[in-house]
Amino acid sequence: MTTEAAASNAVPNEDNALIARTQAGDPSAFDVLVTKYSPRLYGLVYNMTSNHEDTNDLLQDIFAKAYRAINGFRGKSSFYTWIHSIGVNMTINFLKKRGRRYTLSLDDVDANIQNDKEFIELTSNSTSNPVREADLGELQQRLNEAMMRLSNEHRAVVTMFDIQGMPHAEISKILGVSEGTVRSRLFYAHRQLQNFLEEFRKK
C-alpha cells in the first residue's frame, strides 16, 4: 500500500466526525471532505476516462450525489470506501453511455517525473523498453490508449491497484466482488496491456 492510500485509511475517526457534522446540517464539514478526497477521486475517474473535461463533470456529480446521500451513510464502511464506490459506479455507468466514441484529453505530465527514481531507472537502464524509444508525450498517449482498450471493469481494477496503490481487499470492498475476482481481473488486464505495449514496441 502506498503512503497516500495508508494515510486515507488511517483517519476514519476524523472522517466520521466530519460526516456527523454534515448530517447535523453543517455543509462546511462536507467541504473539508471534498477538499480531502477530490485529488484521489480525480485520479480514479481520470484514469478510467482519459478525458479531463469528463472527469471534471463526473467528479462534481459524484460529490453532489454523495452529499445528497450522506444522511443514509451509517458508517458500515469507511467514507473512503463509500465515496470510491459511488465514483466507480458512476464512472462505469458514464462510460457505458459514452460507448466507444471518445477523445483523449490528457492532463500534462508533472515535471517532477524527471526526479522520480523509477522513471530514471526505466529511461536509463533497460535496453529495449518503450520509454527509451518514445518521447514522454507519445508514451503517455500510447499508455492511455492501451488502458482504454481494456473493459471498464478491468480498467477500474488497474487504476485502483497499479496507479492509486490500493490493496486488493480495499478494491474488493469498493467493487463489491471477491478478492479472487480482483486478482484474476488484474492478471487478465496486465496480460492485455502487455500485449498492447508489445504492439507499440514493434512499431
Binding site: N47, F63, A69, L106, E118, L122, Q194, L197
Partner: protein, 154 residues
C-alpha cells in the same frame, strides 16, 4: 507471447500518477461545486431528490437487495389484491336490499322445474320479453316478491 512478469508495465502505470490537472484546478473545484449545488436546487424537482435519497438509503442497508426486492414485491401484491377486492363492483351492492332479494328469489323460481310451478307462473315465466326481464317486483313482502304485475292490474 509476452511473459507474465509485469514489473515494467506496473512501473509505467505508476508513472501515470504524474498526469495531473493544473495546480489551481483543485482550488477552484470547491467553488465550482458550490455553484453547481445552488444551480441544481433551482433546477431539480423535489421528487427526484426524494427518489435518490430513497435509493441511497436502501443501498446502505445490510440485507441483500433480493430480500428488499422480494419484500417490496410482496407488499405490492397484497396491496393489489386488496384494492381489487375493494374496487370490484357488485351489482347487488348497487341496488336497494329489497330489490336485490327479490331478484334473487326470482332467479330461484326460474331455476325450478316447470312441472312444479303453478299454471299462472308458467304462463308468466314463458313471456320472453325484455320488459319482464327488467321488471322489478311491484310488491315485496318479507323479502319475497308477491306480484310482478303493474299496479293497474289490481
Amino acid at each position: 507471447m509476452p511473459d507474465d512478469n509485469f514489473d515494467e508495465l506496473q512501473t509505467l502505470l505508476r508513472l501515470k500518477r504524474y498526469e495531473q490537472p493544473p495546480p489551481e484546478y483543485f482550488q477552484s473545484f470547491l467553488h465550482e461545486f458550490h455553484r453547481r449545488q445552488r444551480a441544481e436546487l433551482l433546477r431539480q424537482p423535489l421528487w427526484r431528490i426524494a427518489w435518490e435519497r430513497t435509493v441511497a438509503f436502501f443501498a446502505e442497508q445490510t440485507a441483500s437487495r433480493y430480500a428488499y426486492s422480494a419484500a417490496v414485491a410482496a407488499v405490492l401484491l397484497c396491496a393489489g389484491i386488496t384494492s381489487m377486492n375493494f374496487l370490484k363492483p357488485n351489482d347487488r351492492d348497487l341496488q336497494p336490499p329489497s330489490i336485490a332479494a327479490a331478484q334473487s328469489a326470482r332467479l330461484d323460481l326460474d331455476n325450478r322445474p316447470r312441472a312444479h310451478l303453478p299454471d299462472y307462473f308458467k304462463e308468466f315465466s314463458s313471456r320472453k320479453t325484455a320488459s319482464v326481464a327488467s321488471l322489478h317486483p311491484r310488491y315485496v313482502m318479507d323479502t319475497r316478491p308477491v306480484s310482478y304485475e303493474p299496479s293497474s292490474s289490481f
